[in-house]
């Protein structure tokens, strides 16, 4: 099989060409974000050339217009709290359901009931939820978190109880013989063993929450609160035809997730594959 050891040239060429389609939109975003409107002549060269000066003025202005730090704080808060609650609550629920659904009608019904929630599109929930959150005084970031914890429950419970099958029940029984309660056993033994699944759940939930537009759009409408994507939507009219300002703002909203991706690329790729294939 000496042939197979050679570098596949066709594949390399295809991949390098394909990379252009990924890099080009990002290049476009960066050069436009740094330019001044006067540099944007109508010719294609004017748009695509590198900026004359790499000035941060657009970014400063975009931060001011879109109240960047405030939206960033909201997005971070919502994402981190949702991920934390998902890991704690969904793993517990996955444990309770996973350990009992084989021999109990009640638990297997609850399991199916929650997991089939995956098929419920947000479109059918959004109008009643807009009303309900307003009635309950939850039309704020806390309400958004509660909704996320509920929306991602079906998927995460499926993942956790699937993973639990590989953890022998003998471990728990040994702890019980030593006098540990079920609650203590869970946190001391089962929860740490499930850490690979915690990573998967954290990645999937974080990506979905961070980029979600619809839930905050429906729930936070009319309040002054924004998440990063929502701010782009709400301030779209204020950018007018100043595309340089708009692109500076887009780039700002992409930077946090890009940094996260560069640092945790391996975990993200693993998490996404685990979540999809399970």
């Amino acid at each position: 099989m000496i042939e197979n050891k050679k570098i596949n040239k066709t594949a390399m060429i295809l991949l390098i060409l394909g990379l252009i389609t990924i890099a080009f939109p990002l290049y476009l975003t960066i050069v436009i974000a740094f330019k001044q409107p006067s540099e944007m002549t109508n010719s294609i060269g004017g748009i695509l050339s590198l900026p004359k000066v790499w000035s941060l003025d657009n970014f400063k202005e975009a931060m001011r217009v879109t109240d960047f730090w405030h939206s960033l704080r909201n997005s971070l808060l919502i994402t981190l709290v949702t991920v934390g609650l998902s890991i704690a609550l969904h793993s517990l629920m996955g444990y309770a359901l996973g350990r009992n659904k084989a021999h109990s009608k009640f638990y297997s019904f609850v399991y199916l009931f929650i997991v089939s929630g995956m098929f419920v599109p947000f479109a059918i929930l959004m109008m009643p939820l807009a009303k309900q959150t307003a009635e309950l005084g939850l039309a704020n970031w806390f309400g958004v978190i509660v909704l996320y914890v509920v929306f991602y429950m079906p998927m995460n419970i499926l993942l956790y109880s699937g993973y639990l099958v590989n953890i022998p029940i003998a471990l728990e029984e040994a702890a019980r013989v030593d006098g540990a309660s079920t609650w203590t056993t869970y946190w001391k033994i089962i929860f740490p063993i499930m850490s690979p699944m915690h990573a998967t759940v954290a990645v999937l939930t974080a990506l979905a929450v961070w980029n979600d537009v619809m839930t905050p759009l429906v729930i936070l409408a009319g309040s002054d609160e924004n998440t990063l994507p929502l701010a782009q939507l709400n301030f779209q009219t204020q950018f007018g035809t100043n595309y340089n300002l708009a692109f500076a703002s887009y780039l700002l909203s992409l930077i946090p997730i890009l940094i996260f991706y560069i640092i945790c690329q391996k975990q993200i790729l693993n998490g996404v594959v685990n979540g999809a294939v399970k």
Partner: protein, 288 residues
């Protein structure tokens, strides 16, 4: 001890189940109830029985949104899977800088689809027509997003650009499950190139193909962000997806009751499509 275990499980299950019912089941039931009323989103309302459902089937705008959404979902799913499979084969072959390429090709998936939509909106409105002008391609001289018959292609490209990333890594993990000796044995029987792919590789990665099909169709049927960023349903309502129509007319268009009926039908459509897909792919796997 046995009792402690039982009680703990109940104490975990009941509150979390209550939370789920409160913010998933109850709104779902309320949505179904609203679908039998002429509720505008505020004020009083009356029961109208099945009138919303009857009107739904004769409403041209609703029909158009279903046609658009299904056309988009089917075409995008095909485009995405063909390209993703090719990319996965390339990324899984003997190449230099493998992990760099894999990382780079996944990048589009982590970016927010709203902002990606805005960036492509600019690309289709300014860059593409300018390039077409320079090259003398008349047909692309104006923005494809401003033409009712081509705007959906713009949406398709954006959806595909992001979704290919996801499907590619799923295919890669599928290809990695194919043992090397399958190819060696196949090579002895003369299976190379297309034949090798058609008769050896593809049958072995069918489960991953099924995952991708289900993921794609479900995501594209629910498309929203890209529409919001690029066309807002226009021009001439040619790119109104079902989710967008429900959001737009239900939340602010005074059609709360009517669009609830639309949402109920949409929910049933999603369930039927998903179940049918799973049945179909389940059968295919059995045959092999």
């Amino acid at each position: 001890m046995k009792n402690d275990r039982k009680r703990t499980f109940l104490l975990i299950t009941i509150p979390i189940l209550a939370l789920f019912i409160c913010f998933n089941t109850i709104p779902l039931i309320r949505g179904v109830i609203y679908s039998f009323t002429n509720f505008k989103g505020f004020g009083n309302y009356d029961w109208v029985g099945f009138r919303n459902y009857i009107d739904l089937f004769s409403d041209a705008r609703v029909g158009k949104s279903y046609l658009f959404t299904f056309k988009l979902a089917i075409v995008t799913t095909i485009v995405v899977n063909v390209i993703a499979l090719l990319l996965a084969l390339a990324l899984n072959s003997k190449i230099r800088a493998k992990s760099f390429f894999r990382g780079a090709y996944f990048l589009p998936n982590i970016l927010g689809s709203l902002v990606v939509g805005y960036i492509f909106n600019y690309f289709f409105t300014y860059i593409l027509p300018a390039v077409a002008d320079m090259m003398g391609i008349r047909a692309l001289g104006t923005s494809i997003l401003s033409n009712p018959s081509s705007a959906w292609i713009g949406i398709m490209v954006v959806c595909a650009w992001q979704a290919i990333a996801m499907n590619t890594i799923i295919y890669i993990s599928g290809l990695q499950t194919v043992p090397e000796d399958v190819y060696e044995a196949g090579g002895l029987d003369g299976a190379t190139g297309w034949k090798q792919f058609r008769y050896l590789t593809f049958p072995l990665i069918i489960p991953f193909f099924s995952i991708n099909m289900v993921l794609c169709v479900k995501n594209f049927l629910m498309v929203f962000d890209q529409i919001m960023a690029m066309t807002k349903g226009g021009p001439a309502q040619s790119t109104e997806s079902i989710s967008y129509l429900i959001y737009n007319n239900g939340m602010s268009g005074g059609q709360f009751g009517f669009q609830s009926a639309n949402a109920v039908v949409f929910f049933i459509v999603i369930v039927v499509v998903s179940v049918a897909q799973m049945r179909f792919s389940g059968k295919k796997e059995e045959q092999l």
